[in-house]
């Protein structure tokens, strides 16, 4: 296979041109708003939202063009290096089912979030800056979605990191915010190192970053004597690659490291709860459609590059993340912290699905999660906003408006919020008829089939992964019910009239904030994703991005197909799993209801963390502390020590060294002057002396000549006489 042939430029189509426009419009919004936002009427929010709406409309158009019909791919040579063993670096856009699905989700959520922000961020000093950053963020995420090669993807990947840094740290005058965005940025960098190493590995093996080409190359290889053999030619020169599976696994896990950072997987999930310091709509965007989804999207894009071993690691990491996130969410009191840990848990679900071969189910869950999690976060935003308003009215400035212990009974005051929250919560908990039920069910089924396939040799440990999934179902239902109970049931627990948190006597919040929330909540119902609301197999998402549409490569194809066959054979199990997960969700809800129904308002308002486990879960298993003591502190200590060494030893040495050098040079110069110059001078002086002597001998005086000759004569005589 000739690599240059595979990488040849592909002409653009109207679809790819449109995609380019979709990509560049948010960048334009960013540039305009960042540059002139202050001077625009209404400080430019109409521009940002308008551009978002246009990109959403164009995305929908692209969706209709591409979904289940055709794949559009355009590619140009970006730059080439003058070397025969390096192929041209290409850049291009790739539109397939996965891309357009993500495109629609990202632009849709982004538009709604911006619409919501008009109300939420109203009156903020950085209003135009906020919309500008959102534009940049959307641009970066669309870049990740659209590009066709890993190098460009990495560039946009880093841009997402940077723009999330800007957004999380939007209120940069608060120290906690700065801490949080720094943490998010740095923790992501840790993952990115792995991603970069993965990129390097794949480039070293296959000499291209182009995803399609990589897929073709890997697909053309074969397993021989447990090593993976690929041959291709580059500029006419043949290359034969013989790779051990370990190398491929490690390279794949390198790519996965990027996902671990961005999608907040264990053990790098610590940045996500802190990232709640950003404005709530930003949290919504980051958690639902964009940043954290990027990791899962990367896994989907690079699915062909993972070996079965790598997939197993991915599944296990996902299961651990799902469990830890759910456990940490159990005892949180901050309204956004519950949702943040819930996001970690759900992302763990998706990654676990990816690892178990539930490629389509994971992406399905990504899609449904985007809607209901965005709804939850925007709802939380409404509540925080309302609480702020109420506390401001009542002049209670030291009460935390985000603490769910301070709420209660909001369902009467904020009915729209309540029902949309309820719908989204039901979806998150996986109650039948919601979208979350469908996608969660899909992941659980496939992971069960995966465990069956993997444990064919008798190792039942693989069942831990799906069982973890089931446990997380209970936990999710429990913590979301607790969350809802604290906020919406009982009576209002802060001492002022609850109606003061309303926007006006008729409305609980601004219309511009209510509309996106209700829209998202409605989209959390299962009917929009599958006509049969009890079975995921009929879902258009699953069918569109299903395995049959996935150009599977050789690496894990056998495993994934075996899992798919096993899954198809599990007719009865499907029903059992569906019923079981619904029952487990109900059990979770019931436990929470039983526990909290008995408690009085005062008990709820002053609920403390009593057990060790509660403290452990509230503090996220002290992972932060652990990282602090094992990595951050030693690193800081090393840095301080190095600084001291530098200051005290190196600088000292240099300072005193230079002094000594001056002394030495003085000595050398002294030596030079006295000894070297002196000896030269001495030679001159001696010859001068001898010259003088010789000259003086010949002074022209007869008498002195006479005296010399006499002297000489006497010497001669003495010599003769004495010797």
């Amino acid at each position: 296979m000739e690599l240059t042939e595979l990488l040849k430029p592909l002409a653009g189509t109207p679809q790819t041109t449109t995609a380019l426009v979709v990509l560049l419009l948010p960048l334009l919004a960013f540039l305009v708003l960042f540059g002139f936002g202050k001077r625009l009427p209404r400080r430019g929010d109409w521009l940002a939202i308008g551009i978002s709406a246009i990109t959403f409309a164009l995305s929908v158009y692209l969706f209709t063009q591409t979904w289940n019909t055709e794949t559009y791919h355009t590619r140009t040579v970006w730059f080439s290096l003058p070397s025969a063993i390096v192929s041209d670096f290409t850049a291009g856009l790739l539109l397939d089912n996965l891309t357009v699905l993500m495109l629609v989700i990202v632009t849709f959520i982004s538009t709604l979030v911006q619409l919501f922000s008009v109300g939420y961020m109203h009156g903020d000093t950085g209003y135009h800056r906020y919309f500008a950053y959102l534009g940049l963020f959307t641009f970066s995420m669309l870049g990740i979605v659209l590009v066709d090669n890993l190098l460009l993807l990495f560039i946009f990947w880093e841009l997402v990191g940077f723009s999330s840094y800007l957004l999380i740290g939007f209120w940069f005058e608060r120290p906690a915010t700065v801490e949080a965005n720094k943490k998010a940025f740095l923790v992501n960098r840790v993952g990115d190192i792995g991603l970069l190493l993965g990129l390097f590995a794949f480039y070293t093996y296959f000499r291209t970053f182009d995803l399609e080409t990589l897929r073709t190359l890997i697909g053309s290889g074969e397993w021989l004597n447990s090593s993976f053999i690929v041959s291709y030619s580059l500029n006419g020169e043949p290359w034969l690659l013989e790779l051990s599976p370990l190398l491929l696994t490690l390279a794949g896990l390198g790519l996965f490291m990027g996902c671990v950072g961005k999608s907040a997987q264990f053990p790098l999930q610590i940045w996500l709860p802190d990232a709640m310091q950003g404005p709530t709509p930003v949290s919504s965007l980051i958690h639902a459609a964009t940043m954290v989804a990027a990791g899962v999207y990367l896994l989907a894009r690079c699915y062909a590059f993972f070996t079965p071993d790598a997939l197993t690691v991915i599944a296990i990491v996902g299961a651990i993340t799902a469990l830890l996130g759910a456990l940490a969410a159990l005892n949180q009191f901050d309204i956004k912290a519950v949702l943040a840990f819930s996001t970690i848990s759900q992302l763990g679900y998706m990654v676990m699905g990816m690892g178990t071969g539930a490629y389509d189910a994971s992406l399905f869950h990504l899609t449904t999660h985007a809607f209901f999690k965005a709804a939850l976060f925007l709802n939380a935003g409404i509540i925080i906003h309302a609480m702020h308003r109420g506390l401001h009215h009542a002049q209670l400035e030291n009460v935390d408006p985000q603490d769910i212990r301070n709420m209660g009974g909001l369902r009467k005051t904020m009915p729209f919020t309540f029902y949309s929250y309820l719908l989204a919560t039901a979806a998150l908990a996986g109650i039948p008829l919601t979208s979350g039920f469908l996608s969660k069910d899909a992941i659980l089924s496939v992971s069960w089939a995966w465990a069956q396939t993997m444990s064919a040799n008798g190792n039942l440990l693989y069942f831990i992964v799906p069982v973890t999934g089931f446990v997380v179902v209970v936990l999710t239902a429990y913590y979301m019910t607790r969350h809802m109970w604290f906020m919406f049931f009982g009576s209002f627990r802060v001492p002022f009239n609850v109606t003061q948190i309303r926007f006006s006597s008729k409305l609980e919040t601004e219309r511009v904030m209510l509309v996106p929330v209700i829209l998202l909540a409605i989209l959390s119902s299962g009917i929009f994703f599958s006509l049969n609301p009890l079975s995921f197999s009929g879902s258009w998402v699953v069918n569109g991005i299903g395995l049959e549409n996935l150009p599977l490569s050789l690496l894990a194809a056998e495993l994934v197909q075996a899992v798919a066959i096993q899954d198809d054979a599990n007719h009865l199990v499907h029903i059992v799993i569906g019923v079981a997960s619904a029952l487990l969700a109900i059990v979770g809800i019931a436990i929470a209801l039983i526990k909290y129904n008995r408690k009085t308002s005062e008990q709820l308002a002053t609920e403390q963390l009593n057990s060790t486990f509660a403290r452990l879960s509230y503090n996220h298993f002290y992972l932060d502390t652990f990282f602090n003591t094992t990595f951050v502190k030693p690193a800081l200590w090393t840095a301080t020590t190095l600084y001291r060494v530098d200051k005290r030893i190196i600088d000292y040495t240099l300072n005193y060294g230079s002094k000594w050098l001056v002394v030495l040079s003085k000595m050398v110069s002294w030596f030079d002057r006295l000894v070297v110059d002196g000896s030269v001078w001495l030679v001159g002086a001696l010859s001068k002396v001898f010259g003088m002597l010789g000259r003086n001998l010949q002074n022209g005086k007869v008498q002195s000549y006479y005296a010399y000759s006499l002297f000489g004569f006497i010497l001669v005589i003495l010599y003769i006489v004495l010797f």
């Binding site: 022209g700 005086k701 006479y706 006499l710």
Partner: protein, 103 residues
């Protein structure tokens, strides 16, 4: 009266020394010539003194006669030169006769 040879040799040496001293130190050409005469005479004295022990008698005396004759001739020539030098340099002072090479 028999004078021991050592006394004569000693006198001769003293004469020679005075002569040398005159030749080297004196500035005036004529005095230098006088020093030369003294040296000659020291030699003559030795010749005469040693001739006493000469088996062929008068050999030493004859030698000294020759020396006196040569010394007379030499003195005449030398004086003539000194006169010429005096005419040329307007001095008979040896240290003044020296021509400076740089001049």
């Amino acid at each position: 009266m028999n004078i021991p040879l050592e006394h004569i040799l000693l006198l001769s040496a003293v004469l020679f020394g005075i002569g040398i001293l005159a030749v080297i130190t004196k500035r005036h050409a004529v005095v230098v010539l006088m020093g030369i005469e003294l040296i000659f005479n020291a030699a003559n004295l030795n010749l005469v003194a040693f001739s006493r022990h000469d088996p062929q008698l008068l050999q030493g005396q004859l030698f000294s006669l020759f020396v006196i004759v040569i010394a007379a001739a030499e003195a005449a020539i030398a004086l003539a030169i000194v006169l010429r030098v005096y005419q040329h340099f307007k001095t008979a002072n040896l240290s003044d006769i020296v021509t400076d090479v740089n001049k």
